[in-house]
Amino acid sequence: MKGTGIGKRRGTRWGNRLLAAHGVAGYLFLYLPIVILVIFSFNASRHSAVWRGFTLDWYGKLFADRAIAVALKNSLIVAGCSTLISTVFGTMVALAMERYKFRGKLAFDALLYLPIIIPDIAMAVMLLLFFVLTKTRLGVISIIISHAAFNISFVAVVVRARLAYFDISLEEAAQDLYANEWQTFRRVTLPLIMPGILGGALLAFTLSIDDFVITFFTAGPGSTTLPLRIYGMLKLGVTPEINALSSMMMVGSMILVMLSLLLQKGGGGRIEIV
């Protein structure tokens, strides 16, 4: 079907110029605010929106801040644990859903999709009421449980997309060559779907480390994560320190995106941006 795509379109000269101008304006709109945010993280003035010279002070302050170090540690623990749980469980359930038919599959499929669809504030309310009712102590554990509850679904979707392109005859070939089921899984299936699993894990990690609303509702004393810390700082007033922290977090998420794209590309599969 190559050559019949919209790329062949030949608009009027002014139409094309207008379209290009709109495209440039669109990307400016997306990038200007965050670029300005980064620039002002190097501004020497504490209170003003006027440039008063270059400084790295705010980054220095950031690295010396104990509370931020604790928040970063909590964020990494929460993201690490919830990613581990959701990657293992999500991959398992993806294998089951792609390979088998069973009674109640449609209902289970719906249940698996719901956490992706439901607005985060509703999910936050649900989990908070559940923890209050079961008298679970709010803290790192309750946050991990909550993050895994939505991340299992995201991992399952990504891994299933990968499995959909999986050539089952490769497994049959391995078994013809006397590999047992475990060997087949370990040596053939797992390496082939690994890019999907890693992609799902990175997505889960990103979603967990970025989540604010659900964490906010299910956190307790001493379990402040980075987004909660930023929010707390924001409520006290705008400071260049927040700019510095935001810029660092932005760099972090960009690295995660690049990693996930590289991993998914490396597997020879098509790029799947969720």
Partner: protein, 304 residues
């Protein structure tokens, strides 16, 4: 291909694969969902607990003028956000789709990078621009005002007076519905562009050429051929923008003031300050229902 388990061994394996996720989602998702539903029919206790006294009062409270107004504003903000995203996102998707193939992936990636940035950070970026002591107002009452003073001194004309007056006070940007809409458009624009792009890129352009051979002008070939064929992308994008806008909490909290409260803030208040859990549960349940309807529309659009 998915098959029925063929042996007892395979049945056991299926159960082993499903059990952990099933358990997790049942206990930490489905049961909480049922709890919210149950509590939404309860009553607020004197000290903030829940009294199990069946009532529809929490749902009836929606019709209180105060909440009706907030709900109306929320829907208006979400709709406006969706329309702006559509009017700017569709041409942007069209722009990307009409670039040479080797450019397209890069442009899509460029679209995704802000999207993957922390939501709070992205909202904060707009707070920096829009607040009273922010960048836009600093320019307005500082730089621009000073230039005007200088010009007015050099060329004394009466036309400068209203401009001088206007730039002497800051613009009311922060704490308005407008600020919330800007923040939401910024947050969800990529959600509109991606499905529109997917639909436009897939479009078989020979159909447009056929329309033009049949003397359709540019406008007609757009409204009669391109737009209908890319409608699934438009619907999908609109739902993807509308749903999170309706349930927004962070954006109105940071960019809207006390006067521009959205339904998400009301839910939040029921748990963090008012301690009226049953009412909060009822609002969340209504929100969820609206989202589910939206999602059904989305899947319908995807199937077509």
């Amino acid at each position: 291909m998915a098959t029925q388990p063929r042996s007892r061994r395979e049945s056991w394996r299926l159960m082993f694969l499903i059990f952990p996720s099933l358990f997790w989602l049942l206990v930490f998702f489905l049961i909480p969902l049922v709890i919210v539903f149950a509590i939404s029919f309860g009553q607020r206790g004197t000290y903030g607990g829940v009294v199990w006294d069946l009532t529809l009062e929490n749902y009836a409270r929606f019709f209180d003028p105060l909440y009706l107004r907030i709900f109306g504003r929320t829907v208006m903000i979400a709709l406006t956000t969706t329309v702006i995203c559509l009017l700017t996102g569709y041409p942007l998707a069209y722009f990307i789709a009409t670039r040479p193939p080797r450019w397209r992936n890069g442009l899509i990636l460029l679209l995704m990078i802000p999207f993957w940035t922390n939501f709070l950070v992205r909202t904060y970026a707009w707070l920096l621009l829009l607040r009273d002591a922010g960048l836009i107002n600093t320019f307005w009452t500082g730089g621009l005002h000073n230039v005007l003073v200088w010009v007015a001194a050099a060329v004394p004309l009466p036309i400068w007076d209203p401009l001088l007056q206007a730039t002497s006070v800051h613009l009311p940007l922060f704490g308005t519905s407008g600020a919330i809409i800007v923040g939401l458009v910024y947050a969800w624009l990529p959600d509109m562009v991606l499905p529109c792009y997917a639909a436009i890129e897939r479009l078989d352009y020979s159909l447009v050429e056929a329309a033009q051979d049949l003397y359709a002008n540019r406008f007609k070939s757009f409204t009669r051929v391109i737009l209908p064929l890319t409608m699934p992308g438009v619907v999908a994008g609109s739902v993807l923008v509308f749903i999170p806008s309706l349930g927004a909490y962070v954006t109105p909290d940071l960019l809207g003031g006390a006067k521009s409260v959205m339904i998400g803030n009301v839910v939040y208040a029921q748990f963090m300050s008012a301690r009226d859990h049953p009412f909060g549960a009822a609002i969340s349940f209504v929100l969820m229902t609206v989202m589910l309807i939206g999602t059904l529309i989305y899947f319908r659009a995807g199937r077509e």
